[in-house]
């Protein structure tokens, strides 16, 4: 689906990403993890063509990213940013309908198809009942689902999500990831999620890329990449790794328990 080839990126000469390469297959669920400042959010913006790498290139469906117009990209990629500022009183439905922009003509109205797709997107993300409410008055979990619905209204083949569950409580975190999982299963959506939540990533993603100081330090299936040693060196803190009793996926806990060393001591 998308392939990143040795990209370098710097903000005003300040290096953020160095020689980053990886690719994501169609229908894959990839989690990108790593410490603060590792360049994860920057990487997502590069994948959506919002930023351009200074070196290297990105291929989307075998075509270089700069060959696509913004409109074409918006039909292929849905981007859920970390923050979704709304300065004016748009309703949730209006926000979702804005996802139809890449399909609308300059002076054309909103078509029945636009309403249908928006409605469907809101059902999938379980926010149909919010459609008349003002976006600014919604709770964090509701906002996040509306923003996801707006991205789905673009009918993309790939979703890029930047820390989508950071502001959500446990219930909404799980709920949100279940929706992503369903989208992947039922629509073969390719999903790339940037997150600090290693445990949720382990539970729902199939592959993990670890970024540290702008470099890929590990890339592979969840069970192989998420080892105690690696995570300790990446996050520079003592950790304990256990198995989730139900799923068998790795669960990371802060502190180290072997040798009788107490957590927090």
């Amino acid at each position: 689906m998308i392939s990143v080839q040795k990209i370098d990126f710097a903000y005003n000469g300040w290096p953020v990403l160095r020689e980053v390469s990886f690719s994501v297959a169609r229908g894959e669920f990839l989690a990108v993890i790593g410490p603060n400042g590792a360049g994860k959010s920057t990487l997502l913006k590069l994948l959506d063509g919002i930023l351009q790498p200074q070196k290297g290139y990105i291929l989307l469906k075998e075509r270089p990213l700069p060959d696509y117009s913004r409109r074409q990209l918006a039909r292929l990629i849905g981007y859920v940013p970390q923050e979704f500022p709304v300065a004016f009183h748009f309703t949730a439905r209006e926000v979702v309908l804005m996802g139809r922009f890449p399909y609308q003509r300059l002076l054309g109205g909103t078509t029945a198809e636009d309403y249908r797709v928006a409605q469907e997107a809101m059902q999938i993300t379980d926010c149909g009942h919010l459609s008349e409410r003002f976006f600014t008055r919604l709770s964090g979990g509701e906002k996040q689902r509306v923003v996801l619905a707006s991205a789905l209204a673009q009918q993309p083949e790939m979703l890029l999500l930047d820390e989508p569950t950071t502001a959500l409580d446990l219930k909404h975190q799980v709920h949100f990831y279940r929706i992503l999982q369903k989208l992947r299963r039922e629509r073969q959506l390719t999903i790339v999620v940037v997150t600090h939540d290693v445990n949720l990533a382990a539970l729902f993603a199939e592959r993990v890329v670890i970024l540290k100081q702008g470099k890929v330090v590990a890339d592979g299936p969840v069970a192989e990449v998420l080892t105690r040693k690696r995570l300790e060196s990446v996050y520079e803190t003592p950790l304990t790794l256990v198995r989730h009793p139900l799923s068998g996926t790795p669960v990371v806990l802060p502190g180290r328990s072997p040798n009788g060393k107490e957590v927090g001591a």
């Binding site: 940013p81 979704f84 922009f101 003002f134």
Partner: protein, 330 residues
């Protein structure tokens, strides 16, 4: 809270504009008889017809165009700067224009070309140069920095403010009162030819900005959101910025820096249409035109035969009216 269909607000504001355009020219220090005005259309030269078509109608038209332009520019700048407090003058367009006008009054040159006076020309050039300066200062690495733009605009406003005071200080008494009168803004100094020459440019700008409505919706959220949903942000920003500045510069040159309309009309209309620019733009155009014309009618009748500068009326009437609506809305 639920809104009515935004189209209702657009239609109501259009009807309101229609009524204002038909009836306000009948009001004035000399009251007119409607049937005698109509007789003028059938070739009869009546004094009522002459006053209506030659004196009052041009002025009403100028009021409509000025009010509509300032309201639309307010809408566009609020979206582009993502700031509900932005006005057509936030970026210093009017202070640049005012400096041009004030300087020309001081110099006292008076050449008329294509119906435009030197003061008008200087005001327009001042506006255009200011906006080009603000734009150049806020370009960074192929993007427009909104933050820099607001800062640059506000500092340049202060700078020109100081220059204007300087010119005032150096001017003699007659010039000073001329300058103060210009700064107050008014719709009384323009003849039909000027309106006719600027009309195509204004209408073109209205059309272009309306065509950008959906993109302005997205840009009013954030640049990243707009990009990710398929808007060529930089190009849209450039076009919107150019045309909103152009109409502001033109009306400032024609009628002076009439305040307040560009701030309150967009807000007022947003209460009724919501923030969707496809409705907000036409509603603001219609209502803004009607509002300013109404204010001007009051300005030229309430102390007749003395005419109060319309800028004073817009703020005196608009301020309290707007506050009442704001607090009733909750």
């Amino acid at each position: 809270m639920k809104r009515n269909h935004p189209m209702t607000a657009v239609l109501v504001s259009f009807l309101f504009l229609g009524l204002v355009v038909i009836f306000t020219p009948l009001i004035g220090s000399q009251s007119l008889n409607f049937s005698r005005v109509l007789a003028y259309l059938h070739g009869q030269t009546t004094p009522d017809g002459t006053i209506f078509f030659r004196i009052r109608l041009p002025r009403v038209l100028l009021g409509v165009l000025t009010g509509a332009s300032l309201s639309l520019a307010g809408v566009v700048f609020q979206a582009l700067l993502r700031n509900p407090l932005a006005t057509p003058y936030t970026l210093g367009i009017s202070s640049g224009g005012a400096f041009g006008a004030v300087l020309m009054i001081k110099l006292g040159w008076s050449i008329t070309w294509l119906g435009f006076s030197t003061v008008q020309t200087a005001a327009f050039i001042g506006s255009v140069l200011t906006i080009l300066l603000v734009y150049t200062l806020s370009r960074r690495a192929g993007q427009i920095s909104i933050h820099l733009m607001i800062l640059a605009g506000v500092s340049i406003s202060y700078f020109f403010g100081a220059l204007i005071l300087m010119v005032h200080f150096l001017a003699d008494f007659t010039q000073t009162s001329q300058m103060i009168r210009w700064m107050m803004g008014g719709l009384d100094v323009v003849d039909f030819a000027v309106i006719g020459r600027t009309l195509p440019l204004l209408l073109l700008s209205f059309a272009v900005l309306f065509a950008l409505a959906r993109m302005l919706n997205l840009i009013s959220l954030s640049e990243i959101t707009a990009l990710s949903k398929g808007v060529a942000v930089l190009r849209v920003q450039k076009i919107a910025f150019l045309f909103a500045s152009l109409i502001t510069g033109l009306v400032v040159a024609m009628s002076g820096p009439i305040g307040f309309v560009g701030l309150i009309v967009p807000h007022l209309m947003r209460i009724f249409t919501g923030p969707d620019h496809r409705y907000l733009i036409p509603a603001s155009l219609f209502f803004g035109g009607a509002f300013l014309t109404l204010c001007d009618t009051i300005a030229r009748t309430v102390l007749a035969p003395v005419e109060i500068p319309v800028g004073i009326i817009t703020a005196l009437l608009g301020g309290p009216f707007f506050l009442v609506l704001l607090f009733r809305q909750k």
